[in-house]
Symmetry: C2
Subunit: 179 residues, 2 copies
């Protein structure tokens, strides 16, 4: 879902345009989260640190998606997640304070965010079903079928982390199904 | 989050007020979903049918929450979930067509739905983290600590299904932690 085009110049004054190098952090777990990010170009991963110190990837965002720790963003709280650039990434960042001011000036944007979050929440309902319903192999095949571009773009070790696999197991599945 | 009070009479003309008996279905998996539900009083469960014919509970909604299959609701599609009353439940139901007309008349409601879906999506981000991070025992203790009222209200076999436990395992955990 893209931003309303006729509001572009007004929007620009509220957003901070930024570039992140591959593997650079947009948001760090344990620090205050006061921004959300619109991905203009690139790809980011949402993750948290497991107790053993490794990163568990929970989500990705590609072009035209929003991403943040939305619980922390809503309350200016401490982030439970990190967000890291998977490749070189350009974003529009907006702080909660700027968003508040923007929505006062352009209340029509609530309609855009209503649909955007409804879509995100709907996707999370489906994802929950797949997590309960599918075996690891089925999860991988579902992912291959529904997000082929994604599977090519995201490094295999991140895809494995996202699917809850070891890299070795993912590599075995790839040999079995991608020939 | 409650509905804006000053719009109550207008809202009533768009909503269908309904009562459901315990265990009655509000929405049936496999049928077209054209409504979303605001829980006025009571409790409902969102579930899908596993291949073995048993119900897997994925979510609950209590008073002042909205629930639907939001992917199906957004597109008038076939529901991937059933919604069933856990106890006697009163709802306000609104069809997608009525919501469209209502939002034309009261566009301020987009702000309400924006916040409501942001909150729901934020909760689903946290839930995903807990599903990856916690052991079954930790999941149960987290649930007990954060949703004590809920744990008393929802029948144990549904709570077990929601947490992905067998009823026997949940009963063992209860003996261990609730004394």
């Amino acid at each position: 879902m893209s931003l309303p085009a006729n509001k572009t110049s007004l929007l620009e004054s509220f957003f901070d345009q930024r570039s992140y190098a591959k593997k650079e952090l947009l948001l760090t777990e344990g620090q205050r989260c006061f921004e959300k990010f619109f991905i203009v170009k690139g790809c980011v991963q949402l993750s948290y640190l497991r107790q053993d110190g490794t990163e568990q990837t929970l989500d990705f965002a590609l072009e035209n998606w929003w991403i943040s720790d939305f619980m922390a963003f809503a309350h200016g709280g401490i982030s439970q997640f990190s967000i890291r650039a998977v490749e070189r990434t350009e974003v529009l960042a907006i702080s909660a304070a700027h968003q508040h001011a923007l929505l006062e000036q352009v209340p029509e944007l609530h309609a855009y965010f209503h649909l955007m979050f409804q879509r995100a929440y709907a996707a999370s309902q489906m994802r929950l079903r797949y997590l309960y319903e599918f075996s690891k192999e089925e999860l991988y095949l579902h992912f291959l079928r529904h997000f082929p571009a994604f599977t090519q773009r995201v490094p295999q070790y991140l895809l494995a982390s996202f699917l809850g696999f070891t890299p070795v197991y993912l590599s075995e599945l790839r040999k079995k199904f991608v020939s």
